[in-house]
Subunit: 230 residues, 2 copies
């Protein structure tokens, strides 16, 4: 990562065009996740939470480096690979700026949780090495534990916030789906990881529908876990 | 760092009260440095700068962990050790919120540069292991290279910004000195690392004066390097 020039002459681990798009998307996602966690860290009222969130943010940079280096190892320009997803992520974040600490927690817990589930589903269609990398960087267990504990406590202390946060979660999901739609229609190779292409069979309609059902089920579980209505 | 409870029963590396204060101060300084670099990363116009600043921010967390673990190894509660410096740092940052990307760069380059020089001077009075730790976490070479390149380019492109940034740098130094004064008067043990105590000889007045001259000389060099008047 220290040298931003891609090493096209020493390609050791090629990536399919679809996998390169997926890794580029995830790299940009990790960079924005870092920035949001760091921002949350600085906003959190408790010193212990600030420290924990700062540590989690640093982990995103470790993940980012793995993805960046994977692109470079394939002779792909990491900057260009990320740049094509910048507008979708930046628009998502611009439309979902949290107004307080609890909204930040819900955004990362619900939004990143849904995104991580989705990336793992997409990765199932990619080459094996890439699928493993995606699973590694999509592991959000540490954040989930923190968010569940803080959100549960906040909602128990003041049940009235649950309504506002449930509405907020719905808005997040709506924005996320709208940006996912945009990414899919602009990036054919990436979309084909989900739907298959003419020369590679993908999921049929029944499988796609089953996948969305899994995503919704896990989302609803996350909501219930912290006491939010779906 | 994963366990926030200090391990008082396995003390392997004791710290003098003054060294514990110094390490606690630096730990809190690194945490706030992380938060500011991460904020600067998210504000920087170029993707390449965002990535580099995010990486530098993550380095501050590595430093933070070294300091946190050093306190815990000495049986000192890291949270309490940091907490006592929170007001001074938070007030400094509240009084010196940068209005744009260039002011952020100057703040980190000039402010952190001066602070790092000062910490290294203080460390000379501490026990050898602590002095080495302070020098490791105070190494700001990577940030300096980035700041010098961006500030020099910005001032060459628009010489009019130099006046505003020079004024801004003076305000930063004034605020830093005022908070340093406050920390010194509230923390006798720490101050004695500079001035000595009744049972340990420290710097005499001539040495203290020579130290301030060194700090000012290095500050002026930093300003000149990027084309700012002192």
């Amino acid at each position: 990562m220290s040298d931003p020039t891609p090493q096209t002459d020493g390609v050791t681990e090629p990536l399919s065009p679809a996998a390169a798009e997926l890794v580029g998307l995830l790299a940009y996602a990790e960079l924005t996740a870092f920035e949001r966690l760091a921002e949350d860290a600085s906003q959190s009222p408790e010193l212990a939470d600030r420290i924990q969130l700062a540590g989690l943010a640093a982990t995103q940079i470790d993940h980012f480096r793995m993805l960046y280096d994977r692109l470079a190892a394939a002779g792909v320009d990491p900057m260009a690979a990320m740049q094509q997803f910048r507008a979708a992520f930046d628009d998502f974040h611009a439309h979902t700026a949290p107004r307080d600490w609890l909204e930040s927690l819900v955004k990362a817990y619900v939004g990143d949780g849904l995104a991580a589930d989705f990336y793992r589903e997409v990765a199932d269609g990619a080459e094996p090495g890439v699928a493993d990398l995606v699973r590694t960087v999509s592991d959000d267990q540490l954040y989930r534990d923190l968010a569940v504990s803080r959100l549960t406590a906040a909602i128990q202390a003041d049940p009235a916030v649950a309504g506002r946060l449930a509405l907020w979660a719905r808005r997040l999901v709506g924005e996320a789906l709208s940006q996912a739609q945009r990414v899919a229609s602009d990036h054919e190779a990436l979309a084909e990881l989900l739907t298959g292409s003419t020369d590679r069979p993908g999921r049929d309609l029944a499988e796609l529908s089953a996948m969305f059902t899994r995503l919704v089920t896990r989302h609803n579980e996350r909501m219930r876990t912290v006491g939010l209505r779906t």
